[in-house]
């Protein structure tokens, strides 16, 4: 074992030696620096291993061979080992990253760099107050030097601001230290802590001074303009170090000194942290300079960490895990992002669209963003989870809200940025070249994130259940991403099918889950089949699709809250990437993500309440929510409804589904939406229905569902874009389902299931076929199509059948839903909602006819004359679905009966009974099979009759019509499609004025305006920044000690 003291000794030794030979041999100094960093990394690393493997006692190093407090002592415990290791790793990587720049500036720069990292080590290890001060100063002077690595005016100004601010702070710390010595009679931190200075009226000032200076070093909002400027102006490589290494060290200093003042100071710290977290994220929303944005984000994250320390007495033994989870994510992600920024060198985040030139970097970027927001499988996810759960246990709703709101705001800008990088079409993209030394560190950081994420998973309560098999599969698909489509497609389909067999025995007997598993997996296979029609390699499609399916199936498998949420987030992430693949889907993918995050946080909050009610980690906890049950139910419902796109939360859907790729739309529409339905069903089944909160909620949801349906169908009727029409139709269909299951009777749920299954099948067919046609004809506008029945008969039949199902026309299965609806509504007594539902149901015919007529009937356009049928790979899955529909229509009892039996126990009355093929309720009866037979027979007879009458009808060509004895010259003029429901719109269009969209726009503008107004405090004048610092001190003093 190499003693920790050698970190200092060797680093300084090398530094001095470099000074000695630096001038003469340049290369030597470079390697010497790296060797020094490497050595430090090695020392701290070996100590870390030592503490991990055989948990040995904490090592104390006495300098000068005298015992503290008379001499300075350092300490190397597990935390010190970990943090020094982190610092040294980022130091080493940073050294590699900056190697060329440092070398250009010369030996001295390298010396400074080396000493900088060393000083951070000492800051972490030292147990002496004054020594802490000294090495903080070493660190800040080194920083002030490194800022000037790129000599530009901005860097100079930033450095000056930094010097002045830290100068003042250091002074305050110095006074605090000397008085601490005066009161405690010692400079040793442990002695000072033991002296309990917080108690006495006089001595508490010293405590205050120390706290305030340490907090100020952590750049609290608003006294952090100087810090942000440093991030902005300095070389990103330095930004990475300041954000990852210095912040880590300072964070640990705060942790060391936390007990200084006693409990009541923790609240102040937490509040300051919270304000910083929310405030600086808020201002980030208005920021376009990448480095500055990262600065805001870093400060926000450190604010969160500060806040967590402030909440330490609440978090108890969870503190370490939570703090570590979030710290490590911030550390790796920020370092990575700053380094990326250094590679791209864009002045504006729009410029990051250049990342598209190297998909791998893009992948890394995505990794970092998702890690920062706290998506699985990254440590921050588990950190946040534990954090929320623990806070909930203590009943600290306010803190939970602050955390979730802050994280959401962070999502606002991070995902706008990611969206730009993935999709934005931006002129003058900076073109960058990747040198290995710049690329390697970023790469390592990404690995760290994944590795640590997987490593900490079992440490979370119930985390060990999380099933990583699907994720491994995703990883594998990433590995083979370079292969052509058909191979990856086969692999994916194979994987899903294999998983079907794997999961069937698990779910056997649980019909509810079995049905949804069927929808997700079978649907997955069928929709993927369409992928065979695609050419090329489709980079990144398959991993993301599989990630979505992994999430979906995970939701089904989940037995604990954690698993459920884990999979939920996974699904969100995957689907986001699928959606944003579309040509024009950047804004839609963005709003989808925002709604999803907000929803996820609502769910998280609800889960927190559920967990806190009984410390039960299993999903059953939803059944016994005793803390604010109404709020919990509402939050959960809202969370799930963001996925089902119910009225008010629907605005992301039309764009997202409409603009997505032709085979992605069916995935996200027919399959993904069902995840929300599943969530709602689980919630409704578990929750205590007797409670007034639940009943009121259900009543409201009933109305929401009904209105959603009306809005969806009506909007669909006025669309000209085929895919948006279908998207709105999905909104409406999900409205039906929401309404049905809110009824909470056996009939209602049967209706709900019928709709779920039907919508899954026909929407898959419609999106597949229409999507295929849209691609083939190269337009979304229906009025530019027409007459396709001649060219694509199979597609026509598929669409026709789906339409009959949507319309609920007997004899097809859609009618089953309508019939069940009627009975359910009469039984429940929700007559008016019911009336709205049926009204909407009839409006459906408007868009259905518009769709099929404008695309397949009417006049064939000249430029489509030599169109062929769409790819068989699209038709095959469609027709599989059609067969499914037909079976369901002819023999509904085989599906509805077992479902009825399954859900019967949950409901008081068993309302539906069966006589053979005949379904009976207290109101009416319906016999699907007979209807099928009767209609079938009669239809055949009548057809036969007509054929007999006019067997040899003569086929005439397109323009041969009764057109006022004229012959229409152009099909465009004759094809009646554009805005055909003008009259209807005139009469009822006012019903769908986009209030909701307007509302959300107003909201987002509000946020941006507030942000813009807030950030004016950063006037840029270094004097003002000094003023902020002093202001912070004085205000904090007055609040905390009221001037004694």
């Amino acid at each position: 074992m190499v003693g920790p003291i050698y970190i200092i000794a060797v680093a300084l030794g090398i530094a001095f030696i470099m000074g000695l030979f630096g001038k003469s041999l340049k290369n030597f100094t470079g390697w010497a620096m790296l060797a020094g960093l490497g050595f430090m990394t090695y020392v701290s690393g070996q100590w870390l291993l030592e503490f991990l493997n055989n948990n040995r006692a904490v090592e104390t190093i006495y300098t000068a061979g005298f015992k503290p407090p008379y001499s300075i002592n350092l300490q190397m415990g597990s935390y010190e080992a970990l943090l020094t290791f982190l610092i040294n790793v980022v130091g080493l990587l940073g050294g590699i990253y900056l190697y060329k720049d440092l070398k250009k500036t010369g030996t001295n720069a390298m010396v400074v760099f080396l000493v900088f990292i060393m000083s951070l080590n000492v800051v972490v290890m030292t147990r002496d107050m004054f020594n802490l001060f000294v090495f903080l100063e070493v660190g800040s002077i080194a920083t002030a030097g490194l800022i000037l690595l790129d000599k530009n005016g901005n860097a100079l100004q930033a450095g000056m601001k930094y010097l002045i601010a830290t100068g003042i702070i250091a002074g305050i710390l110095l006074i605090g230290t000397i008085f601490a010595y005066y009161f405690a009679g010692s400079l040793n931190i442990d002695d000072i802590l033991a002296a309990n200075l917080g108690a006495a009226k006089a001595t508490v000032i010293a405590v205050f001074l120390i706290y305030v200076s340490i907090l100020l070093e952590l750049k609290p909002f608003p006294a952090n303009g100087w810090g942000i400027d440093v991030y902005t102006a300095a070389n990103p490589g330095i930004g990475a170090l300041v954000s990852a290494a210095s912040a880590t060290a300072m964070f640990y200093v705060l942790y060391k000194l936390l007990p200084l003042g006693g409990a009541e100071w923790l609240n102040y710290i937490a509040v300051i942290g919270g304000i910083t977290f929310v405030g600086s994220n808020l201002m980030g929303t208005k920021q376009n300079n990448p480095n500055r944005l990262l600065g805001y984000s870093s400060i926000g994250q450190i604010g969160l960490l500060t806040m967590i320390l402030g909440l330490s007495d609440i978090l108890g033994e969870k503190l370490v895990f939570v703090a570590f989870g979030i710290l490590i994510s911030h550390y790796a992600a920020k370092a990575g992002l700053f380094w990326l920024s250094g590679i791209i060198k864009a002045k504006d985040i729009k410029g990051w669209a250049a990342l598209r030139k190297s998909p791998f970097l893009l992948f890394l970027f995505g990794t970092f963003v998702f890690a920062l927001i706290g998506f699985p499988p990254f440590p921050s996810f588990f950190g946040k989870w534990e954090l929320i759960m623990t806070l909930a246990t203590g009943g600290h709703w306010a803190w939970m809200t602050v955390i979730l709101v802050g994280s959401f705001i962070e999502g606002i800008y991070l995902f706008r940025w990611l969206g730009y990088a993935i999709k934005l079409d931006h002129e003058e993209l900076p073109d960058f070249k990747i040198e290995w030394n710049k690329f390697f560190p970023v790469w390592v950081m990404a690995i760290v994130l994944y590795a640590v994420g997987v490593y900490v998973t079992p440490m979370v309560e119930g985390g060990s259940f999380i099933n990583y098999i699907p994720l491994m599969f995703v990883l594998f698909l990433f590995a083979i991403d370079f292969l052509p489509v058909y191979i990856k497609n086969t692999v994916s389909i194979g994987g899903i099918i294999w998983y079907m067999f794997h999961i069937y025995p698990v779910l056997e007997g649980d019909l509810l889950r079995l049905i949804f598993a069927g929808i997700f997996l079978i649907g997955g296979v069928l929709t993927l089949m369409a992928g065979y029609s695609k050419k090329g390699t489709r980079k990144g499609f398959y991993p993301m699709a599989m990630m979505m399916f992994a999430g979906l199936i995970g939701i089904i498998e989940a037995s604990t809250l954690l698993e459920f949420f884990f999979s939920w987030e996974l699904m969100t992430a995957g689907s986001y990437f699928l959606i944003i693949r579309g040509k024009r889907s950047m804004p839609h993918g963005y709003s989808y993500m925002l709604f999803s995050i907000a929803g996820a946080y609502a769910i998280l909050f609800g889960f927190g309440l559920a967990f806190a009610s009984g410390f039960d980690t299993s999903l059953a906890a939803l059944g016994s929510i005793s803390l604010l049950p109404t709020l919990a139910y509402t939050l959960l419902a809202v969370g799930f409804m963001t996925k089902t796109a119910s009225l008010g939360l629907h605005i992301w859907l039309p764009g997202a589904h409409g603009e997505a790729e032709s085979d992605v739309s069916p995935m996200v529409s027919a399959i993904l939406l069902k995840a929300g339905v599943f969530g709602l069903m689980i919630l409704f089944l578990y929750m205590d229905r007797a409670s007034t909160g639940a009943t009121n909620l259900l009543y409201v949801l009933g109305w929401v569902g009904a209105l959603t349906t009306l809005m969806g169908n009506m909007s669909a009727a006025f669309q000209e874009d085929a895919k948006r029409l279908l998207a709105y139709s999905s909104v409406a269909q999900l409205g039906y389902i929401l309404f049905a299951i809110s009824i909470m009777t056996q009939l209602g749920w049967l209706a709900g299931f019928t709709y779920t299954i039907n919508h899954f099948m026909f929407k898959a067919v419609l999106f597949l076929v229409i999507g295929g046609i849209v691609v083939k004809l190269g337009t979304h506008n229906m009025y530019e199509m027409g007459g396709m029945i001649k060219k694509m008969p199979f597609s026509f039949v598929a669409v026709l059948i789906s339409i009959i199902v949507i319309g609920g026309i007997p004899p097809l299965s859609g009618f089953a839903g309508k019939w069940l609806f009627y009975n359910a509504i009469l039984e429940k007594g929700w007559y008016f909602q019911g009336a709205i539902i049926f009204f909407a149901g009839i409006i459906a015919f408007l868009y259905l006819y518009k769709l099929i007529h404008s695309v397949f009937l009417g006049q064939l356009k000249d430029n489509h004359r030599n169109m062929k049928e769409i790819s068989a790979w699209i038709l095959i899955p469609s027709y599989v679905m059609i067969i499914g529909i037909m079976i369901f229509s002819a023999f509904p009892q085989y599906i509805l009966k077992p479902i009825g039996n399954m859900i019967a126990p949950y409901f008081s009355s068993e309302a539906l009974s069966w006589e053979g093929t005949k379904a009976l309720t207290s109101f009416g009866y319906w016999d699907g099979t007979t209807v099928m037979i009767v209609v079938g027979t009669a239809f055949v007879l009548l057809l036969g009759w007509l054929v007999a009458l006019s067997s040899k009808a003569k086929k005439i060509e397109q323009f041969n019509i009764v057109f006022a004895a004229e012959r229409p010259h152009r099909p465009e003029t004759t094809h009646v499609s554009y805005n055909i429901y003008a009259g209807y719109q005139k009469a009822l269009g006012f019903l769908i004025t986009p209030f909701v969209t307007a509302f959300w726009d107003a909201m987002s503008n509000l946020v941006l305006e507030v942000a813009n107004w807030l950030r004016r405090i950063y006037s840029g004048s270094m004097q003002n920044y000094a003023l902020h610092v002093v202001l912070f001190i004085v205000v904090f003093y007055l609040i905390a000690l009221g001037g004694l």
């Binding site: 100079l156 000056m160 010595y181 006037s1019 000094a1026």
Partner: protein, 117 residues
């Protein structure tokens, strides 16, 4: 006695702070900073003072009776360190000021507002 010293120290620190916050000329601000530091140093020394005791140098004082005859050596040691650190920082600030002046040909604090928001 020591009260006068320590209050002088505080006064100087305040004075320096005032200089930092109100002066427009960069050099003056830096001067303010040094004054601020000096004040703090004085405060530190006076903390170590023990009434009526001599400097902690054992030339005439016997080590055996040192404990009752000398003032606390530690703060003086700290002050020395603090002074040197202050020196370093000040030097750095001056160099910055020099370069800033090269950039903008001005030392007015308000001419360095390129970074904002």
């Amino acid at each position: 006695m020591e009260y006068i010293i320590i209050s002088t120290g505080f006064a100087l620190a305040l004075l320096g702070l005032w200089g930092i916050l109100s002066q427009k000329n960069l050099i003056k601000i830096i001067l303010g900073f040094t004054i601020f530091n000096t004040g703090i140093n004085i405060v530190m020394v006076s903390i170590g003072y023990v009434r009526g005791k001599a400097a902690p140098i054992l030339d005439v004082i016997k080590p055996s009776e040192a404990a009752d005859k000398i003032v606390d050596p530690l703060p003086q040691a700290l002050v020395l360190t603090a002074i040197v650190i202050g020196l370093g920082v000040t030097a750095l600030m001056l160099v910055y000021a020099l370069n800033l002046h090269r950039e903008k040909n001005s030392l007015d604090i308000n001419s360095f507002k390129d970074l904002k928001w």
